[in-house]
Symmetry: C2
Subunit: 320 residues, 2 copies
Protein backbone atom coordinates (compact mmCIF):
# COMPACT_ATOMS: atom_id res chain seq x y z
CA UNK A 1 0.00 0.00 0.00
CA UNK A 2 0.97 3.63 -0.48
CA UNK A 3 0.58 5.20 2.95
CA UNK A 4 0.82 8.84 3.99
CA UNK A 5 1.78 9.53 7.61
CA UNK A 6 1.41 13.01 9.13
CA UNK A 7 3.65 13.70 12.09
CA UNK A 8 6.11 11.14 10.71
CA UNK A 9 8.99 12.53 12.81
CA UNK A 10 6.99 12.51 16.02
CA UNK A 11 7.09 10.01 18.86
CA UNK A 12 4.32 7.65 17.75
CA UNK A 13 4.42 8.61 14.06
CA UNK A 14 8.09 7.74 13.63
CA UNK A 15 7.71 4.37 15.36
CA UNK A 16 4.72 3.68 13.11
CA UNK A 17 6.67 4.63 9.96
CA UNK A 18 9.49 2.23 10.85
CA UNK A 19 7.02 -0.62 11.25
CA UNK A 20 5.21 0.21 7.99
CA UNK A 21 8.51 0.25 6.10
CA UNK A 22 9.57 -3.09 7.60
CA UNK A 23 6.24 -4.49 6.35
CA UNK A 24 7.12 -3.37 2.84
CA UNK A 25 4.74 -0.45 2.41
CA UNK A 26 5.54 2.69 0.45
CA UNK A 27 5.44 5.59 2.91
CA UNK A 28 5.17 9.36 2.38
CA UNK A 29 5.98 11.10 5.66
CA UNK A 30 4.94 14.69 6.39
CA UNK A 31 6.38 16.73 9.25
CA UNK A 32 7.67 20.24 9.93
CA UNK A 33 9.76 19.36 13.02
CA UNK A 34 7.66 21.63 15.24
CA UNK A 35 7.70 18.82 17.80
CA UNK A 36 9.12 15.97 15.70
CA UNK A 37 12.86 15.32 15.51
CA UNK A 38 15.11 14.81 12.51
CA UNK A 39 16.86 11.92 14.27
CA UNK A 40 13.59 10.01 14.58
CA UNK A 41 13.43 9.56 10.80
CA UNK A 42 17.12 8.71 10.31
CA UNK A 43 16.21 5.03 10.14
CA UNK A 44 13.27 5.57 7.78
CA UNK A 45 15.41 7.60 5.38
CA UNK A 46 17.52 4.48 4.74
CA UNK A 47 14.52 2.95 2.95
CA UNK A 48 14.02 3.82 -0.73
CA UNK A 49 10.30 3.35 -0.18
CA UNK A 50 10.26 6.30 2.24
CA UNK A 51 9.75 9.83 0.99
CA UNK A 52 10.00 12.67 3.49
CA UNK A 53 8.21 15.98 2.92
CA UNK A 54 8.97 18.94 5.19
CA UNK A 55 5.72 20.90 5.16
CA UNK A 56 3.27 22.77 7.35
CA UNK A 57 -0.13 21.07 7.45
CA UNK A 58 -1.76 24.40 8.34
CA UNK A 59 -1.03 25.49 4.78
CA UNK A 60 -4.00 23.80 3.09
CA UNK A 61 -3.01 24.80 -0.44
CA UNK A 62 0.47 23.31 -0.31
CA UNK A 63 -0.29 19.82 1.00
CA UNK A 64 -2.93 18.58 -1.45
CA UNK A 65 -0.46 17.27 -4.02
CA UNK A 66 1.05 14.74 -1.61
CA UNK A 67 -2.27 12.89 -1.28
CA UNK A 68 -2.52 11.82 -4.92
CA UNK A 69 -2.67 8.02 -5.36
CA UNK A 70 -2.39 7.48 -1.60
CA UNK A 71 -4.32 4.44 -0.27
CA UNK A 72 -4.35 5.23 3.44
CA UNK A 73 -3.65 8.24 5.63
CA UNK A 74 -2.34 7.87 9.18
CA UNK A 75 -3.03 11.29 10.66
CA UNK A 76 -0.71 11.32 13.67
CA UNK A 77 0.53 14.91 13.71
CA UNK A 78 -0.75 16.91 16.67
CA UNK A 79 -0.07 19.35 19.39
CA UNK A 80 0.04 16.44 21.82
CA UNK A 81 0.57 18.11 25.15
CA UNK A 82 -2.59 18.40 27.23
CA UNK A 83 -0.92 20.41 29.95
CA UNK A 84 -0.15 23.76 28.34
CA UNK A 85 -3.45 24.36 26.52
CA UNK A 86 -4.52 27.38 28.53
CA UNK A 87 -1.21 29.15 27.88
CA UNK A 88 -1.87 29.25 24.14
CA UNK A 89 -5.44 28.18 23.32
CA UNK A 90 -5.01 28.85 19.60
CA UNK A 91 -2.42 26.11 19.28
CA UNK A 92 -4.82 23.20 19.85
CA UNK A 93 -7.35 24.79 17.49
CA UNK A 94 -4.81 25.25 14.72
CA UNK A 95 -2.52 22.24 15.07
CA UNK A 96 -5.28 19.76 15.82
CA UNK A 97 -8.71 20.92 14.61
CA UNK A 98 -7.79 22.98 11.55
CA UNK A 99 -4.93 20.71 10.48
CA UNK A 100 -7.29 17.72 10.65
CA UNK A 101 -9.78 19.63 8.49
CA UNK A 102 -7.00 20.33 5.98
CA UNK A 103 -6.00 16.66 5.91
CA UNK A 104 -9.61 15.58 5.36
CA UNK A 105 -10.08 18.11 2.58
CA UNK A 106 -6.88 16.91 0.89
CA UNK A 107 -8.17 13.33 1.17
CA UNK A 108 -11.57 14.27 -0.24
CA UNK A 109 -10.07 16.11 -3.19
CA UNK A 110 -7.65 13.25 -3.94
CA UNK A 111 -10.22 10.51 -3.36
CA UNK A 112 -8.39 8.88 -0.43
CA UNK A 113 -10.96 6.73 1.37
CA UNK A 114 -9.22 5.50 4.53
CA UNK A 115 -7.86 7.32 7.58
CA UNK A 116 -6.45 6.20 10.93
CA UNK A 117 -6.34 8.89 13.57
CA UNK A 118 -4.61 9.39 16.91
CA UNK A 119 -7.21 10.76 19.29
CA UNK A 120 -6.90 10.64 23.09
CA UNK A 121 -8.52 9.40 26.26
CA UNK A 122 -8.62 13.07 27.23
CA UNK A 123 -11.86 13.34 25.23
CA UNK A 124 -13.56 11.63 28.18
CA UNK A 125 -12.85 14.62 30.44
CA UNK A 126 -13.51 13.44 33.98
CA UNK A 127 -15.27 10.25 32.99
CA UNK A 128 -18.47 9.22 34.78
CA UNK A 129 -17.61 5.52 34.24
CA UNK A 130 -14.22 3.92 35.00
CA UNK A 131 -12.81 1.90 33.32
CA UNK A 132 -14.23 4.09 30.56
CA UNK A 133 -15.71 2.39 27.47
CA UNK A 134 -15.93 4.06 24.06
CA UNK A 135 -19.71 4.51 24.45
CA UNK A 136 -19.60 5.97 27.98
CA UNK A 137 -22.00 8.81 28.85
CA UNK A 138 -21.54 11.89 26.61
CA UNK A 139 -18.59 13.61 28.33
CA UNK A 140 -17.95 17.28 29.06
CA UNK A 141 -14.56 18.50 27.86
CA UNK A 142 -12.17 19.80 30.50
CA UNK A 143 -9.06 20.54 28.41
CA UNK A 144 -8.45 22.47 25.22
CA UNK A 145 -6.50 19.45 24.01
CA UNK A 146 -9.42 17.06 24.57
CA UNK A 147 -11.79 19.60 23.03
CA UNK A 148 -9.64 19.88 19.91
CA UNK A 149 -9.43 16.10 19.55
CA UNK A 150 -13.20 15.68 19.89
CA UNK A 151 -13.52 18.32 17.20
CA UNK A 152 -11.19 16.22 15.01
CA UNK A 153 -13.17 13.05 15.72
CA UNK A 154 -16.40 14.83 14.77
CA UNK A 155 -14.88 16.09 11.52
CA UNK A 156 -13.57 12.63 10.63
CA UNK A 157 -16.88 10.91 11.44
CA UNK A 158 -18.92 13.39 9.43
CA UNK A 159 -16.52 13.10 6.47
CA UNK A 160 -17.00 9.33 6.68
CA UNK A 161 -20.79 9.77 6.52
CA UNK A 162 -20.71 12.54 3.93
CA UNK A 163 -18.05 11.30 1.54
CA UNK A 164 -17.85 7.52 2.05
CA UNK A 165 -14.58 7.48 3.95
CA UNK A 166 -13.53 4.70 6.36
CA UNK A 167 -11.92 5.67 9.66
CA UNK A 168 -10.33 4.08 12.69
CA UNK A 169 -9.99 6.46 15.62
CA UNK A 170 -7.75 5.57 18.57
CA UNK A 171 -8.30 7.07 22.00
CA UNK A 172 -4.92 6.57 23.64
CA UNK A 173 -3.89 6.70 27.22
CA UNK A 174 -0.44 8.31 27.49
CA UNK A 175 2.07 6.43 25.38
CA UNK A 176 5.56 5.55 26.63
CA UNK A 177 8.72 4.10 25.08
CA UNK A 178 11.50 4.89 22.66
CA UNK A 179 11.39 8.45 21.23
CA UNK A 180 9.15 9.72 24.03
CA UNK A 181 9.92 13.41 24.45
CA UNK A 182 7.23 14.99 26.59
CA UNK A 183 5.11 14.18 29.61
CA UNK A 184 5.70 13.24 33.20
CA UNK A 185 8.47 10.63 32.76
CA UNK A 186 10.39 13.08 30.58
CA UNK A 187 9.96 15.87 33.14
CA UNK A 188 11.00 13.66 36.04
CA UNK A 189 14.07 12.23 34.32
CA UNK A 190 15.15 15.69 33.26
CA UNK A 191 14.80 17.04 36.77
CA UNK A 192 16.70 14.10 38.26
CA UNK A 193 19.52 14.42 35.75
CA UNK A 194 19.91 18.05 36.80
CA UNK A 195 19.52 17.36 40.51
CA UNK A 196 19.25 13.74 41.71
CA UNK A 197 18.44 14.88 45.24
CA UNK A 198 15.18 16.71 44.62
CA UNK A 199 12.06 16.09 42.56
CA UNK A 200 9.09 18.47 42.09
CA UNK A 201 5.79 16.70 41.47
CA UNK A 202 2.63 18.44 40.23
CA UNK A 203 -0.41 17.67 42.40
CA UNK A 204 -0.32 15.27 45.33
CA UNK A 205 1.17 12.36 43.40
CA UNK A 206 -1.98 10.31 43.89
CA UNK A 207 -3.36 11.00 40.40
CA UNK A 208 -4.14 7.63 38.85
CA UNK A 209 -3.08 7.25 35.22
CA UNK A 210 -2.73 4.52 32.67
CA UNK A 211 0.06 4.17 30.11
CA UNK A 212 0.79 2.04 27.06
CA UNK A 213 4.08 1.06 25.46
CA UNK A 214 4.51 2.55 21.99
CA UNK A 215 5.11 -0.75 20.16
CA UNK A 216 1.94 -2.18 21.73
CA UNK A 217 0.16 0.94 20.50
CA UNK A 218 1.53 0.47 16.98
CA UNK A 219 0.48 -3.22 17.06
CA UNK A 220 -3.12 -2.14 17.70
CA UNK A 221 -3.05 0.52 14.99
CA UNK A 222 -1.73 -1.93 12.39
CA UNK A 223 -4.35 -4.51 13.42
CA UNK A 224 -7.09 -1.93 12.82
CA UNK A 225 -5.53 -1.00 9.46
CA UNK A 226 -6.07 -4.54 8.24
CA UNK A 227 -9.35 -5.41 9.95
CA UNK A 228 -11.49 -2.23 9.84
CA UNK A 229 -12.66 -1.45 6.35
CA UNK A 230 -16.06 0.21 6.76
CA UNK A 231 -17.56 3.20 8.54
CA UNK A 232 -16.24 4.75 11.74
CA UNK A 233 -14.44 2.52 14.23
CA UNK A 234 -13.42 3.91 17.60
CA UNK A 235 -10.99 2.07 19.87
CA UNK A 236 -9.63 2.80 23.30
CA UNK A 237 -5.96 1.84 23.58
CA UNK A 238 -4.39 1.20 26.96
CA UNK A 239 -3.36 -1.51 29.38
CA UNK A 240 -5.82 -3.15 31.79
CA UNK A 241 -4.26 -1.34 34.69
CA UNK A 242 -3.36 2.03 36.14
CA UNK A 243 -0.75 3.38 38.52
CA UNK A 244 -0.36 6.36 40.81
CA UNK A 245 2.08 9.05 39.77
CA UNK A 246 3.90 8.10 42.98
CA UNK A 247 4.42 4.55 41.69
CA UNK A 248 5.90 5.90 38.51
CA UNK A 249 8.22 8.13 40.56
CA UNK A 250 9.44 5.10 42.51
CA UNK A 251 10.17 3.08 39.35
CA UNK A 252 12.01 5.99 37.74
CA UNK A 253 14.12 6.61 40.86
CA UNK A 254 14.96 2.91 41.14
CA UNK A 255 15.98 2.71 37.47
CA UNK A 256 18.09 5.87 37.79
CA UNK A 257 19.44 4.73 41.15
CA UNK A 258 18.57 8.00 42.91
CA UNK A 259 16.71 8.82 46.15
CA UNK A 260 15.48 12.40 45.86
CA UNK A 261 13.37 14.29 48.37
CA UNK A 262 9.88 14.70 46.88
CA UNK A 263 8.16 18.09 46.72
CA UNK A 264 4.45 18.13 45.85
CA UNK A 265 2.65 21.17 44.47
CA UNK A 266 -0.47 19.77 46.16
CA UNK A 267 -4.09 19.22 45.17
CA UNK A 268 -5.56 16.24 43.35
CA UNK A 269 -4.82 17.65 39.90
CA UNK A 270 -1.44 18.42 38.35
CA UNK A 271 -2.76 21.38 36.35
CA UNK A 272 -6.02 22.98 35.22
CA UNK A 273 -7.89 20.39 33.18
CA UNK A 274 -5.79 17.52 34.54
CA UNK A 275 -7.79 14.34 35.00
CA UNK A 276 -7.10 12.71 38.37
CA UNK A 277 -8.12 9.24 37.14
CA UNK A 278 -7.61 7.88 33.61
CA UNK A 279 -8.36 4.20 33.00
CA UNK A 280 -9.87 3.03 29.72
CA UNK A 281 -11.94 -0.06 28.98
CA UNK A 282 -10.13 -1.74 26.06
CA UNK A 283 -12.42 -4.74 25.47
CA UNK A 284 -13.29 -3.57 21.97
CA UNK A 285 -9.73 -3.66 20.59
CA UNK A 286 -8.96 -6.82 22.58
CA UNK A 287 -11.85 -8.54 20.81
CA UNK A 288 -9.85 -8.14 17.58
CA UNK A 289 -7.12 -10.27 19.16
CA UNK A 290 -4.84 -7.49 20.44
CA UNK A 291 -3.28 -7.51 23.85
CA UNK A 292 -0.45 -5.33 25.15
CA UNK A 293 2.86 -7.09 25.80
CA UNK A 294 4.38 -4.69 28.32
CA UNK A 295 3.06 -3.60 31.71
CA UNK A 296 3.00 0.06 32.78
CA UNK A 297 6.12 -0.50 34.90
CA UNK A 298 7.99 -2.11 32.00
CA UNK A 299 6.95 0.79 29.76
CA UNK A 300 8.18 3.36 32.27
CA UNK A 301 11.52 1.58 32.66
CA UNK A 302 12.07 1.30 28.88
CA UNK A 303 11.32 5.02 28.63
CA UNK A 304 13.85 5.90 31.32
CA UNK A 305 16.42 3.74 29.54
CA UNK A 306 15.72 5.47 26.22
CA UNK A 307 16.05 8.90 27.81
CA UNK A 308 19.28 7.95 29.60
CA UNK A 309 20.75 6.59 26.36
CA UNK A 310 19.63 9.59 24.27
CA UNK A 311 20.44 12.60 26.37
CA UNK A 312 20.48 14.76 23.22
CA UNK A 313 16.68 14.98 23.56
CA UNK A 314 17.12 17.14 26.66
CA UNK A 315 19.36 19.60 24.90
CA UNK A 316 16.74 20.64 22.34
CA UNK A 317 13.58 22.65 22.65
CA UNK A 318 10.94 20.15 23.68
CA UNK A 319 7.99 21.75 25.38
CA UNK A 320 6.87 24.12 22.61
CA UNK B 1 -27.16 43.72 32.58
CA UNK B 2 -25.07 44.59 29.56
CA UNK B 3 -25.57 41.72 27.14
CA UNK B 4 -23.83 40.98 23.84
CA UNK B 5 -25.76 38.87 21.32
CA UNK B 6 -24.02 37.39 18.27
CA UNK B 7 -26.32 36.61 15.38
CA UNK B 8 -28.67 39.35 16.61
CA UNK B 9 -30.41 39.62 13.24
CA UNK B 10 -30.96 35.89 12.93
CA UNK B 11 -34.11 33.90 13.56
CA UNK B 12 -33.58 32.98 17.21
CA UNK B 13 -31.12 35.78 17.99
CA UNK B 14 -33.49 38.55 16.95
CA UNK B 15 -36.39 37.11 18.94
CA UNK B 16 -34.05 36.85 21.93
CA UNK B 17 -32.89 40.47 21.52
CA UNK B 18 -36.47 41.73 21.53
CA UNK B 19 -37.19 39.88 24.76
CA UNK B 20 -33.98 41.13 26.41
CA UNK B 21 -34.82 44.73 25.49
CA UNK B 22 -38.37 44.39 26.84
CA UNK B 23 -36.81 43.16 30.11
CA UNK B 24 -34.78 46.39 30.29
CA UNK B 25 -31.32 45.04 29.48
CA UNK B 26 -28.69 46.95 27.53
CA UNK B 27 -27.97 44.93 24.37
CA UNK B 28 -25.07 45.04 21.90
CA UNK B 29 -26.05 43.07 18.81
CA UNK B 30 -23.48 41.72 16.33
CA UNK B 31 -24.40 40.46 12.88
CA UNK B 32 -23.15 40.68 9.30
CA UNK B 33 -26.45 39.76 7.60
CA UNK B 34 -24.92 36.65 6.05
CA UNK B 35 -28.11 34.83 7.07
CA UNK B 36 -29.69 37.44 9.36
CA UNK B 37 -32.12 40.05 8.01
CA UNK B 38 -32.17 43.81 8.51
CA UNK B 39 -35.93 43.73 9.06
CA UNK B 40 -35.53 41.39 12.03
CA UNK B 41 -33.81 44.15 14.02
CA UNK B 42 -36.16 46.96 13.00
CA UNK B 43 -37.99 46.62 16.30
CA UNK B 44 -34.81 46.44 18.37
CA UNK B 45 -33.44 49.59 16.75
CA UNK B 46 -36.32 51.54 18.29
CA UNK B 47 -34.74 50.96 21.73
CA UNK B 48 -32.04 53.39 22.86
CA UNK B 49 -30.56 50.53 24.87
CA UNK B 50 -29.83 48.60 21.67
CA UNK B 51 -26.59 49.08 19.79
CA UNK B 52 -26.12 47.30 16.49
CA UNK B 53 -22.67 46.44 15.14
CA UNK B 54 -22.29 45.14 11.59
CA UNK B 55 -19.18 42.97 11.79
CA UNK B 56 -17.73 39.65 10.73
CA UNK B 57 -17.00 37.38 13.70
CA UNK B 58 -14.36 35.55 11.66
CA UNK B 59 -12.23 38.67 11.96
CA UNK B 60 -10.85 38.03 15.45
CA UNK B 61 -8.93 41.29 15.67
CA UNK B 62 -11.90 43.54 14.96
CA UNK B 63 -14.46 42.16 17.42
CA UNK B 64 -12.58 42.31 20.71
CA UNK B 65 -13.48 45.92 21.51
CA UNK B 66 -17.20 45.16 21.64
CA UNK B 67 -16.77 42.79 24.58
CA UNK B 68 -15.48 45.39 27.05
CA UNK B 69 -17.68 45.73 30.15
CA UNK B 70 -20.11 43.11 28.85
CA UNK B 71 -21.72 40.93 31.56
CA UNK B 72 -23.08 38.10 29.43
CA UNK B 73 -22.60 36.82 25.89
CA UNK B 74 -25.37 35.03 24.02
CA UNK B 75 -23.49 33.36 21.19
CA UNK B 76 -26.30 32.61 18.73
CA UNK B 77 -24.63 33.29 15.38
CA UNK B 78 -24.10 30.17 13.29
CA UNK B 79 -24.28 28.50 9.98
CA UNK B 80 -27.48 26.83 11.10
CA UNK B 81 -28.39 24.63 8.18
CA UNK B 82 -27.50 20.98 8.70
CA UNK B 83 -28.50 19.98 5.20
CA UNK B 84 -25.89 21.58 2.97
CA UNK B 85 -22.75 20.76 4.97
CA UNK B 86 -21.19 18.44 2.41
CA UNK B 87 -21.52 21.06 -0.35
CA UNK B 88 -19.17 23.44 1.48
CA UNK B 89 -17.49 21.74 4.45
CA UNK B 90 -15.39 24.80 5.29
CA UNK B 91 -18.46 26.84 6.16
CA UNK B 92 -19.35 24.91 9.33
CA UNK B 93 -15.69 24.96 10.40
CA UNK B 94 -15.37 28.71 9.91
CA UNK B 95 -18.82 30.03 10.86
CA UNK B 96 -19.30 27.73 13.83
CA UNK B 97 -16.02 26.34 15.21
CA UNK B 98 -13.61 29.19 14.47
CA UNK B 99 -16.13 31.95 15.16
CA UNK B 100 -16.89 30.36 18.54
CA UNK B 101 -13.16 30.29 19.28
CA UNK B 102 -12.95 33.99 18.38
CA UNK B 103 -15.90 34.81 20.65
CA UNK B 104 -14.32 32.87 23.54
CA UNK B 105 -10.97 34.59 23.04
CA UNK B 106 -12.68 37.99 23.02
CA UNK B 107 -14.46 37.04 26.25
CA UNK B 108 -11.24 35.83 27.86
CA UNK B 109 -9.35 38.99 26.94
CA UNK B 110 -12.19 41.24 28.18
CA UNK B 111 -12.87 39.17 31.30
CA UNK B 112 -16.46 38.23 30.37
CA UNK B 113 -17.39 35.25 32.52
CA UNK B 114 -20.76 34.05 31.26
CA UNK B 115 -21.86 32.60 27.93
CA UNK B 116 -25.10 31.06 26.65
CA UNK B 117 -24.72 29.06 23.46
CA UNK B 118 -27.06 27.68 20.81
CA UNK B 119 -25.94 24.12 20.11
CA UNK B 120 -28.11 21.49 18.47
CA UNK B 121 -29.67 18.07 18.91
CA UNK B 122 -27.69 17.16 15.79
CA UNK B 123 -24.71 16.52 18.08
CA UNK B 124 -26.39 13.22 19.01
CA UNK B 125 -25.96 11.92 15.44
CA UNK B 126 -28.18 8.85 15.19
CA UNK B 127 -28.80 8.54 18.91
CA UNK B 128 -28.65 5.12 20.57
CA UNK B 129 -31.27 6.20 23.15
CA UNK B 130 -34.59 7.90 22.28
CA UNK B 131 -35.84 10.16 23.79
CA UNK B 132 -32.22 11.24 24.02
CA UNK B 133 -30.94 12.63 27.34
CA UNK B 134 -27.97 15.00 27.61
CA UNK B 135 -25.79 12.20 29.05
CA UNK B 136 -26.68 9.58 26.43
CA UNK B 137 -23.93 7.25 25.15
CA UNK B 138 -21.02 9.15 23.53
CA UNK B 139 -22.39 9.75 20.02
CA UNK B 140 -20.69 9.52 16.63
CA UNK B 141 -21.15 12.61 14.48
CA UNK B 142 -22.97 12.16 11.18
CA UNK B 143 -23.13 15.75 9.91
CA UNK B 144 -20.56 18.49 9.48
CA UNK B 145 -23.01 20.79 11.27
CA UNK B 146 -23.27 18.52 14.32
CA UNK B 147 -19.49 18.03 14.26
CA UNK B 148 -18.90 21.78 14.26
CA UNK B 149 -21.33 22.31 17.13
CA UNK B 150 -19.70 19.58 19.24
CA UNK B 151 -16.40 21.31 18.53
CA UNK B 152 -17.95 24.55 19.84
CA UNK B 153 -19.31 22.81 22.93
CA UNK B 154 -15.87 21.37 23.65
CA UNK B 155 -14.22 24.76 23.28
CA UNK B 156 -16.76 26.40 25.57
CA UNK B 157 -16.48 23.67 28.24
CA UNK B 158 -12.71 23.76 28.25
CA UNK B 159 -12.70 27.56 28.46
CA UNK B 160 -15.02 27.21 31.46
CA UNK B 161 -12.58 24.81 33.12
CA UNK B 162 -9.47 26.73 32.10
CA UNK B 163 -10.54 30.32 32.65
CA UNK B 164 -13.38 30.18 35.19
CA UNK B 165 -16.20 30.90 32.75
CA UNK B 166 -19.84 29.88 33.31
CA UNK B 167 -21.78 28.42 30.38
CA UNK B 168 -25.25 27.24 29.49
CA UNK B 169 -25.35 25.19 26.31
CA UNK B 170 -28.68 24.48 24.59
CA UNK B 171 -29.15 21.50 22.33
CA UNK B 172 -32.18 22.49 20.29
CA UNK B 173 -34.49 20.48 18.16
CA UNK B 174 -35.47 22.50 15.08
CA UNK B 175 -37.04 25.80 16.09
CA UNK B 176 -40.19 27.18 14.44
CA UNK B 177 -42.09 30.46 14.58
CA UNK B 178 -41.88 34.10 13.58
CA UNK B 179 -38.75 35.02 11.54
CA UNK B 180 -38.11 31.38 10.58
CA UNK B 181 -36.31 31.46 7.21
CA UNK B 182 -34.87 28.03 6.50
CA UNK B 183 -35.79 24.39 6.95
CA UNK B 184 -38.56 22.11 5.83
CA UNK B 185 -41.58 24.35 6.58
CA UNK B 186 -39.92 27.19 4.67
CA UNK B 187 -39.16 24.89 1.73
CA UNK B 188 -42.67 23.44 1.64
CA UNK B 189 -44.44 26.82 1.87
CA UNK B 190 -42.21 28.24 -0.85
CA UNK B 191 -42.94 25.30 -3.14
CA UNK B 192 -46.68 25.53 -2.52
CA UNK B 193 -46.74 29.28 -3.16
CA UNK B 194 -45.11 28.63 -6.53
CA UNK B 195 -47.28 25.62 -7.37
CA UNK B 196 -50.10 24.64 -5.02
CA UNK B 197 -50.71 21.40 -6.94
CA UNK B 198 -47.37 19.67 -6.36
CA UNK B 199 -44.97 19.19 -3.45
CA UNK B 200 -41.55 17.53 -3.53
CA UNK B 201 -40.56 15.86 -0.25
CA UNK B 202 -37.03 14.64 0.57
CA UNK B 203 -36.96 11.05 1.80
CA UNK B 204 -40.10 8.96 2.32
CA UNK B 205 -41.83 11.51 4.57
CA UNK B 206 -41.71 9.10 7.51
CA UNK B 207 -38.69 10.81 9.15
CA UNK B 208 -39.71 11.56 12.74
CA UNK B 209 -38.68 14.99 13.99
CA UNK B 210 -39.35 17.22 16.95
CA UNK B 211 -39.81 20.99 16.84
CA UNK B 212 -40.06 23.82 19.35
CA UNK B 213 -41.71 27.22 19.07
CA UNK B 214 -39.21 30.07 19.18
CA UNK B 215 -40.77 31.93 22.12
CA UNK B 216 -40.77 28.70 24.15
CA UNK B 217 -37.09 28.36 23.22
CA UNK B 218 -36.36 31.93 24.36
CA UNK B 219 -38.26 31.29 27.63
CA UNK B 220 -35.89 28.40 28.39
CA UNK B 221 -32.79 30.40 27.48
CA UNK B 222 -33.80 33.29 29.74
CA UNK B 223 -34.58 30.88 32.58
CA UNK B 224 -31.06 29.46 32.30
CA UNK B 225 -29.60 32.97 32.20
CA UNK B 226 -31.01 33.66 35.65
CA UNK B 227 -30.64 30.23 37.26
CA UNK B 228 -27.32 28.80 36.00
CA UNK B 229 -24.36 30.65 37.47
CA UNK B 230 -21.59 28.05 37.79
CA UNK B 231 -19.74 25.62 35.57
CA UNK B 232 -21.05 24.04 32.40
CA UNK B 233 -24.79 23.42 32.12
CA UNK B 234 -26.15 21.51 29.14
CA UNK B 235 -29.87 21.48 28.34
CA UNK B 236 -31.88 19.76 25.66
CA UNK B 237 -34.69 21.99 24.42
CA UNK B 238 -37.71 20.51 22.67
CA UNK B 239 -41.30 19.46 23.18
CA UNK B 240 -42.26 16.07 24.64
CA UNK B 241 -43.43 14.85 21.28
CA UNK B 242 -42.43 14.27 17.67
CA UNK B 243 -44.19 14.16 14.33
CA UNK B 244 -43.63 12.62 10.94
CA UNK B 245 -42.68 14.93 8.09
CA UNK B 246 -45.95 13.73 6.55
CA UNK B 247 -47.91 15.14 9.51
CA UNK B 248 -46.22 18.47 9.05
CA UNK B 249 -47.07 18.40 5.35
CA UNK B 250 -50.75 17.81 6.18
CA UNK B 251 -50.87 20.74 8.65
CA UNK B 252 -49.16 23.07 6.18
CA UNK B 253 -51.50 22.10 3.35
CA UNK B 254 -54.55 22.55 5.59
CA UNK B 255 -53.39 25.98 6.74
CA UNK B 256 -52.65 27.05 3.15
CA UNK B 257 -55.86 25.43 1.91
CA UNK B 258 -54.10 23.45 -0.83
CA UNK B 259 -54.18 19.76 -1.86
CA UNK B 260 -51.01 19.07 -3.80
CA UNK B 261 -49.88 15.73 -5.18
CA UNK B 262 -46.90 14.55 -3.09
CA UNK B 263 -43.63 13.45 -4.69
CA UNK B 264 -41.12 11.65 -2.48
CA UNK B 265 -37.42 11.41 -3.28
CA UNK B 266 -37.47 8.10 -1.33
CA UNK B 267 -35.32 6.49 1.35
CA UNK B 268 -35.53 6.97 5.10
CA UNK B 269 -33.25 10.02 5.09
CA UNK B 270 -33.82 13.37 3.43
CA UNK B 271 -30.13 13.92 2.72
CA UNK B 272 -26.70 12.58 3.67
CA UNK B 273 -26.33 12.95 7.41
CA UNK B 274 -30.08 13.42 7.94
CA UNK B 275 -31.29 11.84 11.16
CA UNK B 276 -34.47 9.79 10.61
CA UNK B 277 -35.56 10.16 14.26
CA UNK B 278 -34.92 13.18 16.50
CA UNK B 279 -36.63 13.27 19.91
CA UNK B 280 -34.88 14.76 22.93
CA UNK B 281 -35.40 14.05 26.63
CA UNK B 282 -36.01 17.49 28.19
CA UNK B 283 -36.42 16.52 31.85
CA UNK B 284 -33.38 18.55 32.87
CA UNK B 285 -34.70 21.93 31.70
CA UNK B 286 -38.22 21.03 32.85
CA UNK B 287 -36.86 20.51 36.36
CA UNK B 288 -36.06 24.24 36.38
CA UNK B 289 -39.77 24.92 35.94
CA UNK B 290 -39.85 25.38 32.16
CA UNK B 291 -42.46 23.84 29.95
CA UNK B 292 -43.26 24.65 26.31
CA UNK B 293 -46.58 26.40 25.70
CA UNK B 294 -47.12 25.44 22.05
CA UNK B 295 -47.42 21.98 20.48
CA UNK B 296 -45.54 21.04 17.31
CA UNK B 297 -48.70 21.51 15.26
CA UNK B 298 -49.31 24.97 16.73
CA UNK B 299 -45.68 25.90 16.02
CA UNK B 300 -45.96 24.74 12.40
CA UNK B 301 -49.17 26.69 11.88
CA UNK B 302 -47.73 29.88 13.36
CA UNK B 303 -44.74 29.48 11.08
CA UNK B 304 -46.92 29.10 8.00
CA UNK B 305 -48.87 32.20 9.06
CA UNK B 306 -45.64 34.18 9.51
CA UNK B 307 -44.39 33.12 6.08
CA UNK B 308 -47.74 33.93 4.41
CA UNK B 309 -47.79 37.37 6.04
CA UNK B 310 -44.13 38.11 5.23
CA UNK B 311 -43.66 36.99 1.68
CA UNK B 312 -40.66 39.32 1.35
CA UNK B 313 -38.57 36.55 2.97
CA UNK B 314 -38.98 34.47 -0.20
CA UNK B 315 -37.78 37.24 -2.45
CA UNK B 316 -34.32 37.46 -0.85
CA UNK B 317 -31.39 35.11 -0.93
CA UNK B 318 -32.15 32.64 1.83
CA UNK B 319 -30.17 29.46 1.38
CA UNK B 320 -26.87 31.29 1.24
Amino acid sequence: MKILVTGCAGFIGSNLVDRLLISGHEVIGLDNFSTGRQKFIDNALKFTKFQFINCDLLSAESIGKYFDSVDVVFHFSANADVRFGTLNPKKDLEQNTIVTFNVLEAMRKSGVKKILFSSTGSVYGEAAVIPTPENCPFPIQTSLYGASKIACEGLISSYCEGYGINASIFRFVSILGERYTHGHVFDFVRQLRENPNSLNILGNGKQRKSYLYVQDCVDAVLLALLSQNEGVNIFNLGVDDFCEVNHSVAWICEEMNVSPSLHYSGGDRGWIGDNPFIFLDTKRIQQLGWTPKLSIKEGVIRTVQFLQNNDWVFSEETLN
